[in-house]
Symmetry: C2
Subunit: 437 residues, 2 copies
C-alpha cells in the first residue's frame, strides 16, 4: 500500500469517494443506483449522449431498475450526469460501462472503451481506480487498457489502479438487482485487487476475486457462451422434433421434471439483446490468435441466426396450407422485443423477421405494449404503429405470428379469434390452428 | 376400459399385481426395490445372466441403491430371480429394462429389446401391460415393440397394453432414489396410458404423462444430449483456456457464482457410463432418416472422445518437461471409474487412457478403491492391481495422473509426495507440480 491507495481505501470505506461512471446505459444506470443505495453520494454519470444526460438530470431514468423516486433522491444527494470528461478531475474511481459491440464481420469493436480512455486520461487524477465492466475478450484489460493508461503517463499499481469486474445485469430480472448479484473481479496488481474488492464489496453483497483480469474476462464470456450454446441446441432440437412430428416444448417441459442434471432452455425465433448474440464471438476472435477454434460458439451462432429464415419459411408454409401466397397475405406479429416483458429491441430477431416478411410482399402489422411505434434503427426504418389486440384486429389477419410472449398478451383471446397461428414460444396449447416454429 | 384393463387396474391398485422385470441391472434392480418399498410383493426378476440370477436369489445385490437387507426382505415376501421366461405366465405387467448399446459404427443395437420380446411373447398372458424403460430413439415403442407384439397375436389396447417410461437412474446419486424421481411416461392408447399411470403412480411420487411414446423417448434423449453437449462445451473451453494460460476450473467456479442463467458442467478426461456417450447417437441415427443432422451431438461426441488423446498428449508434454520419454516413464493413474465415488467402468475413458499409455511404453500403475484388479472387458484385458496411496508409491512414479477424483483420495498426501501431477478434475490447487488437462 502507498499513500494513494491508503487514501482511496479510506474514502471508499467511509463512502466519501467520488465515483464516476462512464456509460449511463443498461449497466451504468443500475450501477449508479446500487452505489447510491449503499450510501455513496458523490456519483457522476458521464455519457456522450446529451439527450440521455439531460433526461437523467431531470430525474428521468430509462430502466425500471432505477425508478424515478430513487433517481430524484440521488440528485438531491449530489448525483449529476454530464457529457464533459473534465468532471473526472474530482473522481476517485472511474467505472467504465460502455458498450462493446461487434463489427459487421463479427470482430470486437472496442472503440467505445478506447475513446472513453482517450477522453478520460487527460483529466484523471493520480491515485484513481479504474474499473472496466464492459464484456470483452480475455486480455483486454492487460493488453489494451493498461498500455493506454501507461502511455498517458500513469504507472499501474502506483499512481493508478486498474481492475476488471464484469457486469451481470439481466434486464427485466425482478429477483436479482445489481447489489444482490455476486460480482467476479480481478486487479492488475495485488493492491489493485484490494481496492477493487473494497469498492465492489462496499455496495455488492458478495464479491468473488479471481487470479487475473483475463480469468474474469473469460468468466463473463463463459456465462453467455453457455447460454448461446444451450439455446442453439434447443433450436436444433426444435427442428428435429418438428421433422418427427413432435412438439419440442412438450419434450422440454417433460425433461424439466428431472430434479437433477437438466436445465431448461427454450428455442425461439433467434437470440437478441446486447449479450448473447455478441459476446461469444469475442472469444472466437481472440481464440484464433492462439490457433484454436470455438466450434460450439460458431455452431450455436449459425443455428441461432438461421431461426429468422426458419420462422419465415414456416410462415410461408402455414399460409400455403391456407392457399395464400405470402405476397398476398396479412400477418400480425406479436412482440417485437427480443425478450418477454422487456422493452428492448437491441439485436431483436423479431425485427429481422418483420422486415423479411415485408420484403416478401406481406402486409405486416404488429402488437407490442412496449413499442407504440418502432424506433428508427441503424439497419431498419419501419413506419408502423402497435395494433391493439381486439377480436377484429386478430380476425382480419391471415396469420398471427407469436414472436415474444409478453405476459400482457391475452392468449385465450388470441387463440379464439386468430385464423391461423405460428407460435415460436410454445405459449399456445396445441390445436389445428397452431404450428410451432 | 375392457375386462382386461379393469382387472389389471384393480390388481395394481391393491398391489396384488405380479410384476416381472426383464433385465436386472443398474435399472431393473433399483426398480424392483422401489416396487417392493411401495408394497408390491409378487416381483419376478428375469435376466439371461445365470450368475446374476443366483446372486440375487441368495440376497446379493450389486448396487448400493438396493441394500442386502432390502433384498432379503423382498425375497422373504416372494421376490425371486430367474433366467426362465416361462415365469411370465403369471405376470400382470412386464417392465423391460435391458441395455440399448451402440454398435461399433454408432448405430442403435436393439437386439436386447428384440430378443426379450421374442423370448417373452410366447408366455405372456392376455391383458398384460408391457412397459419399456430402455433409452432409445423416438419411434421404438410404436415402430418396433408394438409390431412385434401384434405379430405375436396380440391387439394393442385390447388384450395387451403398451407404454414407454424412460428410466432416470443416476448411479451414485444419494439424494434421489427411484421412487423420488418424477417419471415421464406415455401409452400407445388412452387405456394403455391409464394403466401406465396407475402402475408408475403406485410406486413413484410424481408421474408426468406425455402425448405419445415418441415424445417420452425424445425426452429421455434430450436430457442426456444436454449433458453431453455441455460437457463437450466445457472440454472445448478447457482447451481454449489452457492455450490462453488460464485455468478453466477457476473460471467455471467464478461463473457458478452467478445466481441465475449459469449451470456448472465440468471438463474431464472424456465421458463414460452407459448413458451420456451412447444415448445421443440414437437420435443422430434416427434424425438422418428424416433428412436432418444432429450437429451439436456430433460435435460434442467428437470433442469428448478426443479428450483421451488430449490427456495422453498433456502427459507426454509434462514428462518431457521433466526430461523423461514416455516409453521410459512410470505413471500412476488415480481413478478408473468414469464417475466419482462409483464403481463403474462402463465406457470409462480412463481405461482407454491407461491402455494408450501402456501402448506408448509407459509403466503404468493405478489406484482405485472400487477396483482391486481390473475386470476383464470386451476390448481390454489389463492385468493390474490397485496400488495403495502411500508416500512411497506416489514418489516412485514420474507422473501422477488424476482421472477420477474419488472422495477417498487424500489430496494433501497426493500433492505432497507426487513428483509431478496431471489433474483432469481440477481437484488439486495450482502449483508448479500441477498441470490441468
Amino acid at each position: 500500500m502507498n499513500a494513494f491507495s491508503s487514501t482511496l481505501l479510506k474514502k471508499i470505506k467511509s463512502k466519501n469517494a467520488t465515483i464516476a461512471i462512464a456509460g449511463m446505459g443498461y449497466v451504468g444506470m443500475p450501477l449508479a443506483g446500487a452505489l447510491a443505495k449503499a450510501g455513496f453520494k458523490k456519483i457522476i454519470g458521464i455519457d456522450i449522449d446529451q439527450k440521455r444526460v439531460d433526461q437523467l438530470n431531470s430525474g428521468i431514468s430509462l430502466i425500471p431498475a432505477l425508478p424515478k423516486s430513487s433517481l430524484n433522491k440521488m440528485i438531491k444527494n449530489g448525483f449529476y450526469a454530464t457529457t464533459d470528461f473534465l468532471n473526472l478531475q474530482v473522481a476517485d474511481a472511474l467505472i467504465i460501462c460502455v458498450p462493446t459491440p461487434l463489427t459487421e464481420s463479427k470482430e470486437p469493436d472496442l472503440t467505445y472503451i478506447q475513446s472513453t480512455l482517450t477522453l478520460s486520461i487527460p483529466h484523471l487524477k493520480p491515485g484513481v481506480l479504474i474499473s472496466l465492466e464492459s464484456t470483452t475478450y480475455p486480455g483486454t484489460t492487460e493488453e489494451l487498457v493498461a498500455p493506454q493508461l501507461v502511455s498517458g503517463g500513469f504507472s499501474i499499481g502506483v499512481d493508478i489502479f486498474l481492475g476488471y469486474a464484469p457486469e451481470r445485469e439481466d434486464p427485466g430480472n425482478e429477483v436479482f438487482q445489481t447489489q444482490d448479484i455476486p460480482r467476479v473481479l480481478a486487479g492488475m496488481t495485488p493492491i489493485c485487487l484490494r481496492l477493487m474488492s473494497a469498492l465492489y464489496g462496499s455496495f455488492i453483497s458478495t464479491i468473488h476475486p479471481v487470479s487475473s483480469p483475463r480469468a474474469a474476462e473469460l468468466t463473463k464470456l463463459l456465462e453467455n457462451i453457455q447460454r448461446s450454446v444451450n439455446i442453439g441446441l434447443m433450436n436444433e432440437m426444435k427442428i428435429i422434433a418438428d421433422k418427427m412430428g413432435l412438439n419440442i416444448f412438450e419434450v422440454i417441459d417433460a425433461a424439466s421434471t428431472k430434479p437433477f442434471g437438466f436445465t431448461p432452455y427454450y428455442p425461439g425465433p433467434g437470440i437478441g439483446g446486447h449479450c448473447i448474440p455478441i459476446d461469444p464471438f469475442y472469444l472466437t476472435w481472440k481464440a484464433k490468435m492462439y490457433g484454436v477454434h470455438t466450434r460450439f460458439i460458431e455452431l450455436a451462432g449459425e443455428i441461432n441466426e438461421s431461426m429468422v429464415d426458419y420462422v419465415v419459411s414456416k410462415s410461408i408454409l402455414k399460409l400455403n396450407e391456407q392457399g395464400i401466397a405470402i405476397s398476398k397475405s396479412k400477418i400480425l406479429i406479436l412482440g417485437l422485443s427480443y425478450k418477454k416483458d422487456v422493452g428492448d429491441l437491441r439485436e431483436s430477431p423479431n425485427i429481422k423477421i418483420l422486415n423479411s416478411l415485408i420484403n416478401l410482399g406481406a402486409k405486416v402489422n404488429y402488437s407490442d405494449p412496449f413499442f407504440k411505434t418502432i424506433p428508427s434503427m441503424r439497419k431498419f426504418k419501419l413506419h408502423l404503429s402497435s395494433m391493439s389486440l381486439t377480436p377484429g384486429n386478430l380476425k382480419k389477419h391471415d396469420l398471427v405470428l407469436i414472436l415474444t410472449d409478453h405476459s400482457s398478451f391475452d392468449l385465450k383471446l388470441i387463440c379464439k379469434h386468430s385464423v391461423s397461428i405460428i407460435d415460436t414460444r410454445g405459449s399456445i396449447p396445441l390445436s389445428q390452428k397452431v404450428t410451432y416454429a
